[in-house]
């Protein structure tokens, strides 16, 4: 196989189809001249690709229409979400204290009191809990 030319760039750019790609790779592996060429081509390609992407002068392109609105709204959405999360969190944490679950829950919650006062019954305590009395 003669030395590679445009195939080197096409290889780097992913523009060779399966068979061509394989043939080019095999050739490069066995030909040091083409391997050196490939390296040089890759280096210059990387330099051009590394050119900074410049900003267009301000006012040249239309401003992103919804961006400020989105940003402001997203702050509020975030705030509302945070408040909601805190509320839900608080509700979840406080729920066992204000709501009556199973008898087992009550037994756990009042276990200490029950052990100190054998006449105390969690079931009896339910109405008191709900009225807050």
């Amino acid at each position: 196989m003669s030395h590679l030319d445009w195939e080197l760039s096409a290889f780097l750019d992913g523009e060779l189809a399966g068979d061509q790609r394989r043939a080019a790779a095999e050739h490069v592996l066995s030909c040091s001249a083409c391997r050196a060429e490939l390296d040089e081509t890759a280096a210059i390609r990387a330099r051009v690709r590394g050119l900074p992407m410049l900003e267009a002068p301000s006012g040249l392109l239309p401003a992103p229409v919804f961006k400020p609105f989105h940003r402001r709204r997203s702050v509020w959405v975030g705030a509302v979400a945070a408040v909601a999360a805190i509320t839900i969190g608080v509700a979840t944490i406080t729920a066992p204290a204000t709501q009556v679950g199973t008898v087992d829950d009550l037994a756990r919650r009042f276990g200490a009191r029950q052990s100190l006062d054998p006449t105390f019954s969690p079931t009896n305590a339910v109405p008191n809990l709900e009225t807050g009395e």
């Binding site: 445009w6 760039s9 523009e15 330099r47 690709r49 040249l60």
Partner: protein
């Protein structure tokens, strides 16, 4: 990008305007010329949207851009010139913490930019479309209205010429 054409010209401007600007800048080496070209291209896009046929949007857009660029060059009857120390001043004012890095990058970029400016137009155009804009060979072929084989050899030849310049 083979779906019909759901974009307005403003959306084209927002999505592609910066790339068009960089394309023109890398070809011309002149920021004012690049800005003028962006305006001209957007005008043509606006006029052309009604006639747009589903196909390769990038091929279509870059053909418009390239033709506008060539028309402008012909109109002014002067060759694109080389850049650009103004870039450095612009970045000097930036408050970014990596100003040093950006300056170094720009200086390196200057060499590449100057080397690009030395290439014949067809090679410069092919390399910029491939390596700055990131178009595929097929898209470049549509944009410059040349067979893909021609595009391949222009890109490779362009890179070889750049190497010689930057050696």
């Amino acid at each position: 990008m083979d779906e019909g054409f759901p974009l307005t010209w403003e959306e084209v401007a927002r999505i592609h305007g910066r790339k068009i600007y960089n394309f023109a800048y890398r070809l011309s080496g002149n920021r004012d010329d690049a800005a003028d070209l962006v305006q001209e291209v957007l005008l043509r896009v606006r006029r052309g949207l009604a006639d747009y046929q589903p196909g390769s949007f990038d091929g279509w857009l870059w053909r418009i851009t390239r033709n506008a660029f060539l028309d402008e060059v012909r109109r002014r009857q002067r060759r694109p010139t080389t850049p650009l120390p103004e870039e450095i001043d612009r970045f000097h004012q930036a408050t970014s913490p990596s100003v040093e890095e950006e300056l170094a990058m720009l200086r390196l970029g200057d060499e590449v930019q100057a080397a690009l400016a030395s290439l014949p137009f067809e090679f410069r155009e092919a390399v910029v479309m491939c390596d700055v804009i990131g178009l595929s060979y097929e898209e470049i072929s549509q944009a410059v209205a040349a067979p893909i084989g021609t595009v391949r050899s222009r890109i490779h030849r362009g890179r070889k010429l750049l190497r010689e310049q930057l050696r």
